[in-house]
């Protein structure tokens, strides 16, 4: 399942719900992304995430479907904030349940790389020198390229 949220997300509550009654799955891997107080040494006071409601969920659902197709997983949840996010607050929560932990780790890692490089979000950081729009880092593209399979 994918969700786009314009109010704060609660990783503890999301994980508690996701692990409930999972006698079928032995392994749950979760990634929580938080707003950092600095990027490349520049202080950040807050972040604004733009999204395109409708299309953003559509692309997130495609990335979820690709994750389910590539890995042996039981369940996938991806929740993404948009709007103004204060420093230290969660931006993204991804959870994967699988029978064995290797699949769960790989699927969560894959889905995060895809969200970082393909999900329709646009990030603006406010700092002491004003605001600046951020694009995915070269490392994000390199991370995502790890999953490209030869034709």
């Amino acid at each position: 399942m994918v969700r786009l949220e314009d109010t704060p997300i609660d990783p503890g509550a999301l994980l508690a719900e996701f692990v409930r009654n999972r006698g079928d799955a032995g392994a749950v891997v979760n990634f929580t992304g938080l707003t950092r107080d600095a990027t490349s040494g520049q202080p950040v006071s807050r972040l604004t995430l733009d999204a395109y409601p409708g299309w953003t969920e559509k692309v997130m659902a495609e990335l979820e479907a690709e994750t389910r197709a590539r890995f042996d997983v039981i369940d996938v949840l991806a929740v993404h904030r948009w709007g103004v996010v204060e420093v230290g607050q969660p931006i993204v929560f991804v959870a994967v349940a699988a029978v064995h932990r290797r699949s769960a780790f790989e699927a969560a890692d894959f889905l995060m790389d895809q969200l970082k490089t393909h999900a329709p979000f646009w990030k603006k950081e406010d700092g002491p020198d004003g605001s600046r729009w951020i694009e995915a880092r070269p490392e994000d593209h390199a991370d995502a390229a790890r999953w490209i399979q030869p034709e």
Partner: protein
């Protein structure tokens, strides 16, 4: 009238998020926007900036019908 949307830095440059614009094709719409605003126009022509028509990314020109929704989106930076 197509419904035109701008996201991220494009919205800041355009000074608007949504406008109704009378147009017949994506190329005609892009030409109009470039003529209106050279700074926005330069950004729209950069690599990595795409048009999304009715929630599908398009890479070629398309005919626009009334009620079509056209979004211009810069490179993403999720999570």
């Amino acid at each position: 009238m197509a419904r035109v949307l701008m996201f991220g830095v494009l919205q800041d440059l355009a000074g608007w998020r949504t406008r109704e614009i009378d147009t017949t094709s994506l190329s005609a719409l892009t030409d109009l926007l470039m003529t209106e605003d050279a700074v926005l126009g330069e950004r729209l022509s950069r690599p990595g900036v795409f048009a999304v028509v009715n929630q599908t990314m398009v890479r070629t020109d398309v005919i626009l019908a009334p009620d079509d929704e056209v979004a211009f989106v810069p490179p993403v930076s999720g999570g």
